[in-house]
Amino acid sequence: MSPVVPPPAVALGVLLPVLVVLAAAAVVLVLDVLPPRDSKAHLGGVALAGIIGALLAIVMRWGTDARAFRDMVLLDTYALYFDLVICYAAALIVMFSMDYLGRTGSESGEYYSLLLFSTAGMMLMASAGDLIVVFLALELMSLSLYVLAGFFKQRLTSGEASMKYFLLGAFASSFLLYGIALIYGATGSTNLDRIAAAAATRNAEPMVLIGLAMMLVGFGFKISSVPFHMWAPDVYEGAPTSVTAFIATGSKAAAFAAMIRVLVVALRGAQPDWSALLWALAALTMTVGNVVALAQSNLKRLLAYSSIAHVGYMLMGLVAGGGPGPGAVLFYLLAYTFTTVGAFGAIALCARAGEEAVEVSDYAGLARRHPVLAATLALFFLSLIGIPPLAGFVAKFYLFGAAVRAGYIWLTVIAVLNSAVAAYYYLRVIVYMYMREPDGEPVAVAPSLAGGLALTLAVAGIVILGLMPAPFADLAQVAVAPLLR
């Protein structure tokens, strides 16, 4: 008989923020089958409490630099920063969901538990120190989101969104997995640090480069960069608006977190190669996103293309590299998350003739009937354009600055031209809200206490980030420091 294997050290403290979220998901699942069976409103409260608990755990753990489970899980400031962004997005989305689901008559415990499961997956993507964990966490996040996209079963577009997202997502995941397998084959490890050490001696090995390209396809799908963006408009349009907000922010932040860590830590030796690839992807993504957005009449599709364009800007930061580049991306993600969650949340509050108000023309005359909501929505759009003194301006400023300092003048010129193009379609929505009169029934706004609170938080976020960005920019720089050792 062989000797007993000593049990491995289990350091649950490193997992604390994720465990809090998963525990909340389990509690929601159990409470779902207990009375009261006809009202599920309290489950949203439980989910929110779980996310706030996770936020507290993140703040408590700030500054630690721990690793556990044989370097599979890392808890450094980088992971904690992303946990913060993801949990903020999740908290705001739960608040928007409470009344949104109640209004559409589809409240259920599974919604909140799946939302929490995908949140946990996203947080683990930011903490992953091993490609296997990257993949599993990505699948945990994606599987939950595939189901959530099809949550409105009575709506055909919702089912279509779910099916499309699932099929294309599975396809992209297999690319990622194939890339991981090739990199494992070339370097003999899936651990990020050991890959870096093994790859340092043999850089231009074709197997590493092919693996890198395949992983970029997988990540490129999740962040919806061109040419892997085809799913985004259909899924954003068909999915419940609250879920769309999460797909547009949380899943993007998580995919960026994993991608930046893999590129900057494990494949730092191949930086010239991936930097050149990302240059082309960035230019293509922002241009296609902005140009196609010009032609959209559906507000959710418009925001889908706008989010694609923003991914293009963020890829610039990765191209720029060094410390300031990724740091600017992290700051941009924070500003983008607040703005986009807020914009989708405001849309979720609006309805016209019993349907969700998703056409741009639905918003005609919103300013006269609901001046506060119109002003809020206008603020979000102005921030997305990048008008000072809002968060979007500062974020773009840091990002473009990092690119210029790294010598990527042409890429920055393309980005600035793109920002000018983007102003047109955002302003068009504002023109509709303020200067047009509705033909037929005007848009109605559902009263929602939690939704209002979430909107207030989002607006406060973009104004504070815009007015005093320095502490948050420092935070982002501190967060990328663990990657650059």
Partner: protein
């Protein structure tokens, strides 16, 4: 020798994969998939991963394929019965072939009586994998269970009828 085995098995795997995609008949496609999964299991064997090969056969070629064929039979009724069997005369070959197989199994069963060999665990064996699963890969193992739970909740949500 190894290269020849690999080439042969890989060709079978690729051919059956193509057959799966190109066949219009769903049952034929499913049978090609069985061949494909079996040849991938054989590839695992040539790499010395016995456990993986066994798991592949049991889980994929066994359980999942039965489900596949079952679903096809249930969802496309009538398609599998297309008139009288064109290869009716071949039925007479079945009896001797079956008898031959039975004889083979009996010979093997009788011939391999004896003490089981004892040695250090093979690198691809069950023990080595179990060891890795509960030490180095404990966290991915646990994460997979969360993933399966989320998938289960999702399936229940999508499959449940709206009341």
């Amino acid at each position: 020798m190894e290269l020849a085995a690999f080439t042969l098995i890989a060709l079978i795997a690729l051919g059956s994969a193509l057959g799966l995609i190109l066949k219009r008949n769903a049952i034929h496609g499913a049978l090609f998939l069985v061949v494909n999964l079996g040849s991938v299991a054989a590839l695992y064997l040539t790499l010395g991963a016995e456990f993986l090969a066994a798991a592949q056969v049991i889980v994929y070629a066994g359980a999942i394929m039965v489900l596949f064929v079952f679903a096809i039979m249930v969802l496309i009724p009538g398609k599998e019965e297309t008139g009288p069997d064109p290869r009716r005369p071949l039925r007479w070959v079945a009896l001797p072939a079956g008898a031959l197989l039975l004889a083979q199994v009996l010979v093997i069963l009788v011939g391999t009586r004896g003490p089981t060999p004892v040695g250090s665990p093979a690198p691809g064996g069950v023990e080595a994998i179990g060891r890795l699963l509960f030490t180095d890969y404990l966290f991915p193992f646990e994460l997979t269970s969360v993933l399966l739970l989320a998938a289960m909740v999702g399936v229940l949500l999508l499959a449940r009828r709206r009341t």
